[in-house]
Symmetry: C2
Subunit: 272 residues, 2 copies
Amino acid sequence: MLYIIGLGLGDDKDITLKGLEAVKKCSKVYMEAYTSLLSFGLSPNGLSNLENLYGRSITLADREMVEEKADEILNEAKCSDVAFLVVGDPFGATTHTDIVVRAKKLGVDVKVIHNASVMNAVGVCGLQLYHYGETVSIPFFTETWRPDSFYEKIRENRKLGLHTLCLLDIRVKEPTIESLCRGKKQYEPPRFMTVNTAIEQLLEVEEARGESVYGENTICVGFARLGSEDQKVVAGSMKQLLTVDFGPPLHCLVIVGKTHPVEEEMLEFYGL
Amino acid sequence: MLYIIGLGLGDDKDITLKGLEAVKKCSKVYMEAYTSLLSFGLSPNGLSNLENLYGRSITLADREMVEEKADEILNEAKCSDVAFLVVGDPFGATTHTDIVVRAKKLGVDVKVIHNASVMNAVGVCGLQLYHYGETVSIPFFTETWRPDSFYEKIRENRKLGLHTLCLLDIRVKEPTIESLCRGKKQYEPPRFMTVNTAIEQLLEVEEARGESVYGENTICVGFARLGSEDQKVVAGSMKQLLTVDFGPPLHCLVIVGKTHPVEEEMLEFYGL
């Protein structure tokens, strides 16, 4: 059996009782490393805390490993219980859907244990989850690559009065350009996008496209470390949020659509 | 301190370690009753299981009680730790936003402990959460009341190729017409909408509006008891799903938009 277990958002105590029971009976425990180290603020020390809690040693599985060794992991899951731990909910990212598809094709039983994810925890700011449109991703712009397909999606959401959740880029294990040339793998330090950078990029795209989809007076909510003890939630105009230091990762951003009175009251509590 | 604690979707073991720790230190524990009895499949017996697990007695708080006694609950939370337990995630419903607003106005500290909700657990069917549009609610039609405002929302989602999550009506503690006339409160037995009824109503509205937003060949995914051990997930056309018995509550429905190959592969596994 392959258990895909959501760990929730904050720290090691956000696992469910059901999730913990499942981990404890697994002979092998993998943990996706792409985003988890950053979002759980894990040092190698933090990982051993998790190992103590679970009573199991954990193998970190980065993107390469999951892609290359998926069949190996799935073969283990054929004859024993294997856990694959995922920060948030198991279906926040496409990679996890992919591993389920591969498991089902190999005839491996899969059991999913859900948990909170950014997709529902943003509800804490008071904006109703029912009134969100399509979610967008904001990638880091480079000198030569400045994709702005999020602009149309935000436009359509705003036409309908809907809120937009913006997921902000995370770069881990990006090979350095130097290492690519030399054919030897060396990695850039991990980078995560701040609310401030996201807003700068959004405003740059608005400037270039000029359709007045949003502007520096558009009300947004910035989030940092959502679901953790020290989460930070601030509502204000884009211009105002540019001046806020949200601190350590992970960050995300909501562009506010049409609001109802209860939503407005809640936003006031998070105002600058 | 007022702790608003998400219990997740399936049963008593879906609470997080953090949530359980918080409940155990509260002097008073309330549990919202609107949907929880149905979705946890709770009998009075089930409630005592929860009480044993938490080591606390639980006061069921129905909608009337939350509205009438909110100030009383919040006053208790001023000088002691009070837990308010919510099935799913705390911000699935407007009522909970409302109690947070009231708490903040009274200067009561609020701490939210997140969990899985329908809004993210539907991800289990393989349709990417990023590609959902606005969520709609399908209310029970009566002889004289057949509201169809969901139709425009589904239309806008489908124009953009987005999936639509349809939340289906739940009626608990509805006063009987007889009791309203007599001024004495008597309640109808609880009712929850099945996937089948939802599809019948959707097709009736399409028939009346005639804009070909969807039809009996539109692919959907029906869910029952999402997140429970015995959850049922079936993908198929509206016509096909009409013939499926999804069993006990709660049910919900997704109208599928434009799909990507990985999404299609997952839907195949849930096909009839």
